[in-house]
Amino acid sequence: MKLQRFPLLFLAVLTIAPFLSTSTQAGPLSGDYVKTFSSEVQIWDPSGSYDENFDEEGIDLDFSMSVDSQGKIVGSGTFSFPDLWQEGIHGYINGVVTVTGKVSSSGSVTRVTYKIRISGGGMVDGYPVEFMANLSIKAEIDPQFGEMVGTVSGKLQARMPGEGSETIKVPPTYFETPLPEGMDGGCTLHLNNLSPDASGKKINGSGRMELSNGKILLFSVSGKYNQKKDEAKLALRGGAGNEKSKLSISASANGALLNVHALKGKTLGQKIQVNSR
C-alpha cells in the first residue's frame, strides 16, 4: 500500500513545488529603491570654482567651470596681475579667462583635459600691451587623493600694437589641483515610482543619480521583468539637463533592497561598466 501512495505523494510534491518556489521570489521591482555605490562605480565631476590666488606675487587666476551631461567643460573667469612694480616693471596686466574641455574615461582612469585661454592686456611702462595665454591641461583623476594630476603646457604671447610680439612656449610641466569640496566619485542611484504593468513584465518609472557633490542627473526608467530569472532589465534615459546620459541596469529586489547585478552606460563623458555576477 505504501508503494502505491508514494507515486501520488511524489506527484503532489511536483505539482505544488513550482508554486512554493515562486512564492519565495522577490517579484518585479515596484516602488522606490536606493543603491549607494562607492568604489565599484565612480562618477567624477570637476565642476566648481577654482581660485588660484598667489598672494606673494599678487596674482589672481579665478574661474568657474561646469561639466554637462556629455562630459564637455565650459568655464570662464578672470586673470589679474595688478602690480608689476614689485618686479621693477611699471604696469599691470589682466584678462578674461575662457575654459573649454572634456571629461572622458578609459578603463579605470578618468581623464580631464581642458584649455585655459586668457585674453587681455594692460600697461607696461606707460605703453599698452596685449596679453594672451593658451594653456592646455591634461590630467587624470586621482581617486585616492581627490585631485586632478597631470601636465600643463602651452604658450604665452605679449604684443605691443605697432611694434611686434613675443611668444614663449610653456613645456609640459607637472600640474595638480584638488577637486572641489565634496567630490569623491561616490554616487547614489534612486529609482522612484517603479510601476509594473498588469502582466508584471513591463516596468516604468523615474530615477536619478546623485553625485557626491550634490549634482543630480535625472533619468526616465523603462524596462522588463523576467520572472524565470527574477531579474529586471531597465533602461535609464537622461532627463532634463541630462539628455545625453544612458544607463542600463540588471537588478532584482530583495524586499526594499535593490541588488544590482550589472550596470552599464555613459554619463558626464564617463563609461560605467560593473558586473557583480
Binding site: I59, S64, P82, Q144, L156, Q157, P172
Partner: protein
C-alpha cells in the same frame, strides 16, 4: 593612504603664467634708452604710472651686451629674481641628497605634490645610491609615488634605468604602468616608440594603459611615433582605443596631421562614433583648423554637427564667424545650436546684430543660456544699444532666476552665473543679480561661483 587632510595649494598654473608673462614683458624693457641707474636700487612703489617716454616705446627685439653702458638690467640679470625663485620652485628639488629625498617621500604628512616631485627627482638621479633606493621604494610605495619614479627614470643616466622602466610598464598597478608609459613618452627614442606601439596594440593590457600609450605617442616629437599612431587609427578595431589614438594624433600641430584627418574623415563606411571622435580630436590641435571643421556643421548627422561645433569652440580662435552664423540660422537641433553659440564665441569676429536676432528667437532653455553667454562676452556688448537693452531687460533677469532656482539643473545654474559674470562688464544689473545670488541661501557651490564672477567683473 588617507586623503590629504588639507587642500594643496594649486600654484602651478599661476606661477607658470607669472614666469612666462614676466619673461615676455621683461623682453619689452631690454635695451631701453634710459640709464641703468634708474633701476639698480630697490625701487619704491610709484604714486602713479609714468607717462609714455618721448624716446618711443620700450619694445625691442635685438639683444645688447650685458656690459654695455646703455644696458638696462632685466629680470634675468637680477641674482635673486622672482623668475629664478619661481622656476626653482616649480621644477622641483635639484641636487638634493638622496637621504633628504627619501625622507620627503616617506613623510606621509608632507604635501603629496612635494613627495611626487621628490620621487621623480630620485628616479632621475643616476647614482647607484639613488637607484638602489628607487628599487626599495617601488616595493612599498603608493601608486602615485611609483608613477612619479617611473617618469623620472626616463631621464636617469644610470645604466639599468631603462630596463627598470621597461619592467614597470608591465606592473600590475595600472597607475604605475601609466607612469612608465609617460616616462617612455618623454624618452622619445626609437626604442621607446617601439615599446609604446607594442603596448598600444597589446590587447592583454588594461585599456587605461593602452590609451595612455596612444596619448604619449601623440606627444612625442619622434616622427616614427606619429606614423605608428596614424597606422594604428586605421588598423585597431576597439573603438575606445581608436578614440584615444585620434586624441593622440590631435595632440600634434595641425600642420602635421591635417592630411591624415581629412583622409580619415572621408573613409567610406566610417562609424559615426569614430567620426565624432576624430572631429573632437581636432579641437585640441594647435593651428588653424576652423575652415575644415566648419564644413561638418552641415553634416546630416546631428552628433557630427555638434562635434564640429564643439571642436570650433575648443580649437584656436577661428575666422569663420559668418559661416557659424549661417549654421545657426539653419540648425533645427537645439543641442547643436547650443554648441554653435559656444563656437561663435571663439571666432575672431561675427556680426553682433545678426547674432542678437538669433538669440532673441532661441526657445530652448539650455541653448538660450549659451546664447546669453555669447552676447554677454562680445567686446562690444556694452556699446551696442540693442544688445545692452536685451541683456538688461531679458537675459539678466532670466539668468538670475535660473541661478536662484534650486530645482534647476546644477550645470544650468553655473552656466547662468558665468554668463552674468560676463554681462557684468556691460551692465550693473548683472552685478546686482550676482550680489543677490550671493546673499540668497543658495547651494554653496553656486554662491562660490557667484563670488568668483563678481571678482571677474571687478578685475576687468
Amino acid at each position: 593612504m588617507p586623503k590629504q587632510p588639507e587642500r594643496i595649494r594649486p600654484a602651478v598654473l599661476v606661477t607658470i603664467l607669472a614666469v612666462a608673462g614676466l619673461v615676455v614683458l621683461g623682453l619689452f624693457v631690454l635695451n631701453r634708452s634710459k640709464t641703468a641707474e634708474a633701476h639698480t636700487s630697490t625701487p619704491a612703489a610709484p604714486a602713479e604710472l609714468p607717462q609714455p617716454s618721448h624716446d618711443g616705446p620700450p619694445f625691442r627685439v635685438t639683444q645688447q651686451p650685458v656690459n654695455s653702458s646703455s644696458h638696462v638690467p632685466s629680470l634675468s640679470d637680477r641674482p635673486e629674481s622672482f623668475l629664478a625663485k619661481v622656476v626653482q620652485r616649480q621644477s622641483g628639488p635639484k641636487n638634493v641628497p638622496v637621504s633628504e629625498l627619501l625622507a620627503l617621500i616617506h613623510n606621509e604628512s608632507a604635501a603629496l605634490g612635494a613627495r611626487r616631485k621628490a620621487a621623480k627627482a630620485l628616479g632621475k638621479s643616476g647614482s647607484d645610491e639613488a637607484f638602489e633606493a628607487v628599487k626599495e621604494i617601488l616595493r612599498e610605495s603608493p601608486s602615485r609615488i611609483k608613477a612619479a619614479i617611473a617618469e623620472g627614470l626616463a631621464e636617469s643616466s644610470h645604466p639599468d634605468a631603462k630596463d627598470l622602466l621597461f619592467t614597470l610598464l608591465d606592473d600590475q598597478d595600472e597607475v604605475c604602468a601609466r607612469g612608465a608609459v609617460r616616462g617612455l613618452g618623454f624618452m622619445g627614442s626609437p626604442e621607446a616608440v617601439q615599446k609604446l606601439v607594442q603596448t598600444l596594440h597589446d590587447e592583454n593590457r588594461p585599456d587605461s594603459v593602452r590609451t595612455e600609450a596612444a596619448l604619449a605617442l601623440g606627444e612625442m616629437e619622434n616622427p616614427g611615433a606619429m606614423v605608428a599612431l596614424m597606422q594604428a587609427a586605421r588598423s585597431t578595431e576597439d573603438p575606445e582605443i581608436v578614440q584615444s589614438i585620434l586624441d593622440g594624433v590631435g595632440n600634434r600641430p595641425i600642420s602635421e596631421t591635417r592630411e591624415f584627418f581629412e583622409s580619415y574623415l572621408q573613409t567610406p563606411g566610417l562609424d559615426s562614433e569614430l567620426k565624432v571622435a576624430a572631429i573632437e580630436a581636432l579641437g585640441n590641435a594647435e593651428g588653424a583648423i576652423s575652415d575644415l571643421l566648419v564644413n561638418y556643421t552641415a553634416d546630416a548627422d546631428p552628433e557630427i554637427r555638434a562635434a564640429a561645433a564643439w571642436a570650433l569652440s575648443a580649437s584656436d580662435r577661428g575666422e569663420v564667424g559668418g559661416d557659424v552664423l549661417k549654421a545657426l540660422e539653419r540648425e533645427q537641433d537645439p543641442s547643436v545650436r547650443l554648441r554653435l553659440y559656444q563656437a561663435l564665441g571663439n571666432q575672431q569676429e561675427y556680426d553682433l546684430s545678426s547674432a542678437l536676432v538669433l538669440v532673441k528667437s532661441e526657445r530652448d532653455e539650455a541653448a538660450r543660456l549659451a546664447a546669453y553667454h555669447l552676447l554677454a562676452s562680445h567686446p562690444a556688448a556694452g556699446e551696442d544699444r540693442g544688445v545692452l537693452q536685451f541683456l538688461q531687460a531679458v537675459a539678466v533677469p532670466e539668468l538670475k532666476a535660473t541661478a536662484l532656482n534650486e530645482r534647476q539643473e546644477f550645470h544650468h545654474r553655473l552656466s547662468s552665473i558665468m554668463a552674468l559674470g560676463r554681462a557684468g562688464r556691460s551692465t550693473s544689473a548683472a552685478t546686482d543679480a550676482l550680489q543677490e545670488v550671493v546673499g540668497a541661501g543658495v547651494d554653496p557651490r553656486v554662491k562660490e561661483a557667484a563670488i568668483t564672477a563678481i571678482r571677474t567683473i571687478a578685475g576687468h
